[in-house]
Subunit: 171 residues, 2 copies
Amino acid sequence: MGKGYLHVYTGNGKGKTTAALGLSLRAICAGKKVFFGQFIKGMDYSELKAVELLPNFEIQQFGRDCFIFNEPTEKDIAIAKEGLNKMGEVLVKGEYDLVVLDEINVALYFKLFSLEELLAVLKNKADHVEVICTGRYAPKELIDLADLVTEMKEIKHYYFKGVEARVGIEK
Amino acid sequence: MGKGYLHVYTGNGKGKTTAALGLSLRAICAGKKVFFGQFIKGMDYSELKAVELLPNFEIQQFGRDCFIFNEPTEKDIAIAKEGLNKMGEVLVKGEYDLVVLDEINVALYFKLFSLEELLAVLKNKADHVEVICTGRYAPKELIDLADLVTEMKEIKHYYFKGVEARVGIEK
């Protein structure tokens, strides 16, 4: 097994979680095992059904059924911390080849846990595990640690035309 | 059925084809039908195996078994034109809810067909079909026509560390 790298997909454009899903699909096609941890989001996203379609795919949500708009509640913090602990275990154990921490940057932005806690979890991963962190607002320290960083930059978005999130496309 | 929109994923960063794959997976999870046309690439990518795993997923390649490095050959042009014709039929027919024209921008950049030919195909699509165009070098006219555009901007890439394309991650 080769070394696993750390990817960060950040920025304000569409395509971050979607790229993580695409990488998951490609990895599974190549016979790899994938764990997809979804922070912030606890709603019924279409991708949750992927476990029924794909082998070696695990998805778990560490968010509530609504977004955080202003201040996070104690419950938001508790769920996110529990999620980070779980992801820490998954990363150390190394049973999964590709591990996604979806919207982890947003969880960090809302201070659901500290940057130090996240960096410790990432640095402690089994060497062969490939890791993906997604979400707006990736901090400089995470970018410094990462091996690959893409900024998804919004050039044009249809929500300005009044198009709301649609099942199978955004959620 | 609602209106389908045109997405463009461009820029020099990793995540364009991957985002299109992720959107395909999400759409399939929501019961939609997906046609994934892959221009330029004719190599054995892991995602080709997705047809065995996913229902309602069709993938077809319109490229050769090597990249175009300098000038495209007549064969490159013939395969790409055939591909554009095929995608035109798929888009008009409207049998698939989500249609991906992967690396179409690169095919255009190499002048395998003209911008006018591509725009005609896109403008002629069945109204409900959601379309994704990927690849570096999206021209202004395509961006103008699109409803959603994300630029995947490379901030950091591990190929500078000498990491080559790996099965299940890049291919």
